[in-house]
Amino acid sequence: MTDPIAGRPGGPSLRQRRQRAAFWFLAPMLFALLCVAAWPLARTIWFSFTNTTLSNLYGGEWVGFDNYLSMRTLSSGRVVWRGTLVDPAWWNAVWNTVRFSLISVGFETVLGLIVALVLNAEFKGRALVRAAILIPWAIPTIVSAKMWAWMLNDQFGILNDILLRLGLIGEKIAWTASTETAMTAVLIVDIWKTTPFMALLILAGLQMVPRDIYEAARIDGIHPVKVFFRVTLPLIKPALMVAVIFRMLDALRIFDLIYVLTPNSSATKTMSVISRENMIDFDKFAYGAAQSTLLFAIIAVFVSAYIWLGRVDLGGEGSK
């Protein structure tokens, strides 16, 4: 970085002038982020402590933690708990989200690793494979949800047809409609759509591993599987961790795929879906705000834990 070359005599130094300019360059961007991120987030949290409704955005009154948890004693002496934290639908959504995130990211990591290893090898047609795996990534989520909804259609879907022909299933499965298979359907589509992203991030890590390591291992006659677990995996661990965290954050907030592929299925409803449903569709604006605040809190804890544990050099300060 350039350090102050002596400023004009009497005037501010070059460094000071540059810092002042930097402030004005940053100001518009910071103002924009304040408007679209900080302020709406603060308002959402505030709404979660009120009884605001969609039709009366400004008429909400402060109700404390009632949207989260409240206790009322009925005249009969019975104690009634209310609020999101005792709402079975919310806990179902939490469970769905956690299940979805862990399974999808797990599969995507393993499959992404396999695809990355394939792409890291030198073979004819590698460019073609690389182009092919970019296709699922390029297709909009909503479009892929529709494409798969058609393929998973119970009557005319090609997947049932293939499985029937192969004799793997006895009768047609209503993939998206049945509660037992709805989550599987969502997982299939999500894994199809996001494995390429995972593969590309891991591939970037793989390409930084010096080739002579493999050469040396081969000359020493070490089994490739052993080389992978003892050498490659530890070396790409940082890239792998970054990929996993990004995917995890993405999976935890999933909305669009589930909203379109399995609408109104309690087997797949996630935290984002249920919050929006309460907020907009059911006119329980404040209640939905409370649920989205909880989701935000969960993700915030997750991110801070990761940054703290991983001591990630996010600012890149170490490289300068």
């Binding site: 002038r17 360059f25 679209v36 987030l41 296709i135 990534w137 992203f197 970037a204 935000f296 300060e317």
Partner: protein, 277 residues
């Protein structure tokens, strides 16, 4: 030994074929379906069975779908323009000027890009209503900034930090102001990075669903994902699969072409920004 090697090779190529087929098949099948109509739609065809353009005529003949494409184009273009404009100046400050709290600021920006969008939905809804931009393009342009801007700043900062000090020094010695340095020295060098980030931000804005679904109320204001997502028939049996597939193909082909053309740049941008698709 050679037999063993041959088997290994066959296994490897089998894996390659599986990967390619699995990646491409759903799109291929959507294309096949989009050219089938009538009863042909309800037979499972593995190979193209005909070349019936009726689904495309139905989709392109509907005024609302054309509006949706227009809406998406306008919104995505303006969002990208705004993010790049705010992003270039900000990332110059973040990458080239030393000041206290820079690391913290970068972390905050990165944190914003990881935001669950549902967490700002209630507040944004109020803001959109307050500004009187509900059901207009501006509602989406404003709200999409939350994910395009942090991403743009992040990638451009990474890129600018790697440029050598010397290019700037000469300009400083000549007494150029920071604004001149950005527009005359950095901007010409930044074009490749701007194309990549712009393209990725465009794809992000083009594909967004949650905000577009919440902030529009009339069919003519819908963006493409909302239009396709809400295309449905009167009942489960009447879902117009043919037109849905035709619409899907229409909006996906340009994206796939763009992505394939800018393949290398996109992969570089993705790995720098670690952003979702």
């Amino acid at each position: 030994m050679t037999r063993h090697k041959l088997l290994k090779r066959i296994g490897f190529y089998a894996l390659v074929v599986v990967i390619v087929v699995f990646s491409v098949f759903p799109f291929y099948y959507a294309v096949v379906t989009s050219f089938a109509s009538g009863t042909a739609l309800f037979r499972v065809n593995y190979l193209p069975s005909g070349f019936d353009l009726r689904n495309y005529q139905a989709v392109l003949g509907s005024r609302n779908f054309l509006y949706s494409i227009g809406n998406s184009l306008i919104i995505a273009t303006l969002t990208v323009g705004l993010s790049l404009f705010l992003g270039v100046t900000a990332s110059y400050a973040l990458a080239r000027v030393r000041f206290r709290g820079r690391g913290l600021l970068l972390m905050t920006i990165l944190a914003v890009s990881m935001f669950p969008q549902i967490a700002v939905l209630a507040g944004l809804f109020e803001l959109v209503r307050f500004l009187g931009i509900f059901n207009t393009h501006w509602a989406m342009i404003l709200s999409y900034t939350i994910f395009t801007l942090p991403f743009t700043v992040w990638v451009l900062t990474t890129f600018m930090r790697d440029l050598p000090v010397e290019i700037e020094e000469a300009a400083i010695v000549d007494g150029a102001s920071p604004w001149i340095i950005i527009t005359r020295v950095f901007l010409p060098l930044l074009w490749p990075a701007m194309v990549t980030t712009g393209l990725l931000a465009f794809i992000g804005a083009w594909n967004e669903f949650l905000f577009a679904l919440t902030f529009t109320s009339t069919e003519s204001m819908r963006t493409v994902p909302v239009a396709i997502g809400l295309l449905s028939g009167a009942s489960e049996q009447e879902i117009p699969w043919g037109p849905i597939m035709a619409a899907s193909v229409i909006v996906t082909v340009p994206l796939i072409v763009l992505v394939l053309i800018f393949q290398r740049k996109i992969v570089a941008g993705l790995t720098a920004g670690g952003v979702k698709g």
